[in-house]
Symmetry: C2
Subunit: 333 residues, 2 copies
DNA sequence: GCTAGCACTTGAAAAAGAAGAGTGCTAAAA
DNA sequence: TTTTAGCACTCTTCTTTTTCAAGTGCTAGC
């Protein structure tokens, strides 16, 4: 549906004002807020037309209009001026990302925390492209009680894992070297798929540490299969402030506590850029602004900011842009 | 203030009913709920007396009574029948605790998660007795880019730390062995205090890895100074259900987002047992049921469950009892 | 196509009345 | 002295009614 420039301007202004104040859009309000040189009567007929097209709706005859889900969607898709990545509060993201000796988990928690603080909305990160991580080194360390700790260095931080395997210190060193030599620069997915090929090529003496490697691969397979969610709920209190109604806040909190729901919502359908999902009026879902987190050009995770239908889509999109731009610039050494 | 048995019974019943239903306590309601053989008129005069003593208050003349903060406190201190640790949902706690190769962080997150799920209230764990952890082994592992990863085995799980220090593989092995030999069985606090003494006794050739050790100790000192909080907010949506008013929910969520506030609230004043703090009517704080987490007889952390003034103190106290009993049974190997 | 003017609709706020729950008090009973 | 029955009183809640003003839709004229 193509709108005239004026209708676009009116719709955009209307939605932004409504997001800011939560007070219904009236012809008078629009006249005050825009530089349009036309009377309230004209604006009324424009608003009427926008309502007929489904972008706005009236709660009651004399009460001004509010955006519909369709209105928000149009706004998001067409009117959201190309977001710029300019959020100072997000500078920390860079330093977190660049510390490659942090654990992947800490890095993810750190990012979620910062985004949540900056946007004032609950934020979720889901790691679902674990197999895309590029490996840099392996360290196997024998612990007490016949266990082994595995440090897996990746471009996006360290992953640790504990294995219930008995092995000598030499086995661990051999395995570390073997794995690092053969899979450095490759992805975890590649390693899982090809390890058997490589094992066939091993000599007898190297096979000593084979149980260790098998156990390690099993562990990685498990990690790979279970998407893991890191939910940050900073800003939950804000959900209750600021004219947000309690029912909407409850929706958001309920979604955040339902892992299944969450991971289905977090699925990125398109590719490579910010996606906005606007909650329907009647559904139990909430709105999300989400983006893929790519490292080295491959998708590792998704980040999503959750809120009610009436949320600051533009501000959040801009914040997410900072994060994903920074992450996408991270290249393998 | 000593109350007659009947007054105690009435107060107890009144508060428990109110916690359950959130409907004001009336003479008729009490008569129905208890087996007391007296008329509503008698109960009215008892309620009147309890009000005069400050345990109950009337919102308005004909509207029944609700507990005051003082009333809740009396209930908690005197009437909460000695809580029993019988929560099936908390069985998982045991298995989490016994997996000593998990990271301390994972263990704490796991416990907070389980408690939060079981109680349906936000739960916080604050590690403030880091120096009391008993050491079991050290593993220093050289990483890429002149960094070292340190695995510190403790009775309550592994702690990892990354150091920006250049060291040879041999330095790392030497340091690992040295530290493990000298400090196994001692606490982190002991090690921090006495490391200099030990260093004086070193021979020239061992001093090679001294920079590594110094850096490690500095890192531990930092960890020790910064109390760290692990906040779990499962059940936030429940805060909004069930007759909880929004203002109270907001209070709780606000407290949870204020680290300073949180850590001051989490401070355990008494020793060794469950403490309940009941929120005042007018203050911005919320109610907490908290307990110290001890390992090997020394306090490592505190766990606290946060909620509105009207919360299920008895149920939560019982859940916490399960957790701390299990943890206190954990002895060094 | 735009605007001014005006009647109309409708919710929100205020006022008034009715109903009912629960109390406090008093006098009598135990 | 304690307990109980009875009753008047208070205060909220629920309706109903009224008023008010905001904002609209419509129409006629520019």
């Amino acid at each position: 549906m193509e709108l005239s420039d004026r209708k676009k301007k009116i719709l955009c202004m209307a939605i932004e004002e409504y997001i800011k104040d939560c007070s219904p859009i009236t012809s008078g309000g629009i006249k005050d807020a825009t530089s349009l040189n036309c009377s309230t009567a004209t604006l009324r007929s424009e608003l009427n037309a926008l309502e007929a097209m489904g972008f706005l709706r009236q709660l009651h005859t004399s009460g001004g209009r509010i955006p519909t889900a369709q209105g928000y969607r149009y706004y998001v898709e067409n009117l959201l001026q190309s977001v710029e990545a300019t959020d100072k509060e997000l500078d920390d993201v860079k330093s977190i990302i660049s510390s490659r000796t942090s654990s992947l988990n800490d890095i993810i928690t750190g990012i979620a925390k910062i985004v949540s603080k900056a946007t004032n909305y609950p934020t979720v990160i889901m790691v679902d492209g674990f197999e895309n991580l590029v490996l840099s080194e392996f360290k196997l360390i024998p612990l007490l009680e016949d266990k082994i700790m595995v440090l897996i260095g990746t471009i996006a931080g360290y992953i640790t894992q504990t294995l219930d395997v008995k092995a000598t210190a030499q086995d661990c060193i051999d395995a570390s070297n073997y794995l690092t030599n053969h899979f450095k620069g490759e992805t975890i997915g590649f390693m899982i798929e090809n390890i058997e090929q490589f094992e066939k090529g091993m000599h007898g003496e190297i096979k000593a540490f084979q149980t260790v490697v098998n156990s390690l691969i099993n562990g990685l397979k498990q990690l790979n299969e279970q998407k893991y969610l890191n939910v940050r709920r900073e800003g939950s209190a804000k959900l209750l402030d600021n004219n947000n109604n309690v029912e909407e806040a409850k929706k958001v909190l309920n979604v955040l506590e339902d892992e299944k729901e969450l991971s289905s919502i977090m699925e990125i359908k398109g590719k490579g850029d910010i996606e906005v999902t606007v909650a329907d009026e009647d559904s139990a879902k909430c709105s999300v602004v989400k983006a893929p987190i790519c490292v080295n050009g491959r998708q590792l995770a998704s980040i999503g900011v959750f809120g009610p239908q009436r949320m600051d889509y533009a501000g959040i999109a801009s914040a997410l842009k900072v994060v994903i731009d920074n992450l996408n610039n991270l290249k393998g050494e």
